[in-house]
Amino acid sequence: MKIGWVPQRPALYGRLSPFENLELFARLEGVAEPKAEVRRLLDLVELPAGKEPAGRLSVGNQQRLNLAIGLLGRPDVLLLDEPTASLDPRQRRRLWAIAGEVRGRGGAVAFATQNLEELERFATRVAVLLAGELVFEGTIVDYRADPSAQVFA
């Protein structure tokens, strides 16, 4: 099973362009046709293939590039660590649409969030961590019904 990881703070090289970042990580992943995969992902996350260094991109674009790197090699599971924490509402919608690609082809998206609205909209199963302890695990329906799970509400 292949797992893609998208940390909260973008994990990319600021002096490389988005294309170069994606190509480097694609080659490290051992992707068969790295350049084609890079172009596909750039189209998917709607980033230009220009030479502008990633460090000069907006926070939203950096986060989309961060997500694209996590999607390299078509992972079965995508781990997102508070992916929308620094994004505006429009950028959040685009990010979730892109992450939906994994679910669309039968994979899973696991994400850590403190945003209850996103939880309600995108999660099917929920695990609640409180002070390092797992205090709830179940479906989103059970979560809604269980008052003890509503520690963040």
């Binding site: 703070r9 490389l16 990580f25 260094p53």
Partner: protein
């Protein structure tokens, strides 16, 4: 290895895009070369020495009828050390406060004792404690040696005058007494004439004995001149000129290259590994893309590649200067492959040390600052001669600088370099392994 190559390509691409860094990499070796040249020039410059003449020496002294050039001797000393004439009190004060490194005192009665040719006059040397006092002492001993040699020559010339008078006769003076003697040769002729004119056989026999004595004495004293010269200079120093300027010497080249690599490579190694954490990519890389040991190896390889490029550039600049100056022996271009091997070993050792500092510091700016702060004292410790103290010597052995200098010197100029190169290569490879292993053990903290 593929991961290492990919990351190396990435780092070289990023380095190439950092204009300030590229300018620093080009300018720094040239700056170091210029500074080392200046330091070498000043290191070879004359130390300041106070000169106290309590006897008011004249420009020339008459010793045994010969003129002795006092000013010439002082000028000769002035070429080796910077003699600063001053009163005794000021000289003492300057020596105490370190504004002069030594004090040479001509005591009262010095010239009179020289003229007397009976008692050796004393020249007083006062030095301050410290590393340079030995150098001053050696220079002053050299001065006294040269002074003695000149005086010996003067004394011998004076004595040879008396020998000449004894042999050939004539007018002379000694200790103020004037005289006129006939000499041994004339005495021999007079005795022969007297023997022929004397009828008494007993008296002739006595005259014959005197003639034998005069003949033997003439022969013996005739040999005295060359014997005295030989005793004065049992070994003569024949001087020739075949060396090159110190600024273009093997030592300066080796130190300049090693110093450049020490500073740049350690800072680069520290900054390169810490920047991976600054970019937040260590976690991503180490989740199955790159092993931690490969990450360390890649940074060491990056620094090594830069070290080879910089070192070759620097040695080529030196070589051009050596050839342009027409320095004897020229630049040993045929030794460049051996020198390049040294660059690989030294670059790797400095790189591994820098990576270790980067792992300790974690954050890019802190790592660069830490590397800069650590390198300078370690280089200075490496410059302390073993004769001064054993502890700094052994501490310096754990830093690649002194091994690098020794390797470069040997690779460029030793006639039979292999033994020394082998030892230094083992040291450098061992230090690389040591620092590399320590970096590998600590690099996981960058992912946190």
């Amino acid at each position: 290895m593929r991961s290492v190559a990919l990351l190396l390509g990435k780092d070289l691409r990023i380095l190439g895009r950092s204009r300030a860094l590229v300018v620093a990499f080009v300018a720094y070796p040239l700056l170091v070369a210029a500074l080392v040249g200046l330091v070498a020039r000043f290191a070879a410059d004359r130390p300041r020495v106070a000169f106290v003449d309590l006897d008011n020496l004249p420009k020339t002294l008459e010793i045994g009828g010969e003129r002795f050039d006092v000013k010439g001797v002082i000028d000769q000393v002035d070429a080796a050390v910077e003699l600063l004439p001053m009163p005794a009190a000021e000289a003492d004060h300057r020596l105490k406060t370190g504004r002069v490194l030594a004090e040479i005192i001509i005591p009262r009665g010095f010239a009179a004792r020289l003229r007397g040719m009976v008692e050796s006059p004393e020249l007083i040397l006062k030095t301050s404690p410290g590393g340079l006092s030995d150098d001053i002492r050696r220079r002053t001993e050299s001065l006294v040696f040269n002074l003695d040699r000149r005086l010996q020559t003067t004394y011998i010339e004076s004595n040879l005058g008396y020998v000449d008078l004894l042999l050939h006769g004539g007018k002379g003076s000694f200790l103020g007494n004037r005289f006129d003697i006939i000499g041994l040769e004339a005495a021999g002729r007079s005795l022969a004439d007297l023997r022929r004119r004397t009828p008494d056989p007993a008296a002739r026999k006595e005259i014959e004995q005197l003639e034998i004595f005069v003949r033997e004495a003439t022969l013996a004293i005739g040999q005295t001149g060359s014997a005295m010269r030989a005793i004065a200079n049992p070994i003569k120093l024949a001087e020739g000129h075949g060396g090159r300027s110190y600024i273009l010497s093997a030592t300066v080249q080796s130190y300049a290259v090693a110093l450049t690599l020490a500073v740049l490579c350690v800072i680069l190694g520290a900054g390169a590994i810490a920047s991976e954490r600054d970019e937040n990519v260590v976690g991503r890389l180490t989740r199955g893309l790159v092993r931690l040991s490969e990450l360390v190896a890649e940074k060491v390889a990056l620094v090594t590649a830069i070290a080879v490029a910089l070192g070759l550039a620097l040695i080529i600049v030196f070589g051009i200067a050596v050839e342009a100056a027409g320095a004897p022996g020229g630049q040993p271009w045929q030794r460049l492959p051996l020198f390049a091997l040294g660059l690989v070993l030294v670059g790797a050792a400095f790189g591994a040390f820098g990576v270790l500092l980067g792992v300790v510091a974690r954050e890019g700016r802190t790592a660069s600052l830490l590397a800069f702060l650590v390198v300078l004292p370690l280089v200075l410790v490496s410059l302390i001669p073993r004769s001064a103290s054993e502890a700094p010597f052994w501490a310096a052995q754990l830093f690649p600088f002194s091994h690098g200098v020794a390797f470069f010197e040997s690779a460029l100029y030793d006639l039979d370099p292999w033994g020394r190169l082998g030892r230094q290569a083992l040291w450098l490879a061992g230090l690389t392994a040591l620092f590399g292993a320590a970096s590998r053990a600590g690099v996981r903290r960058l992912a946190r």
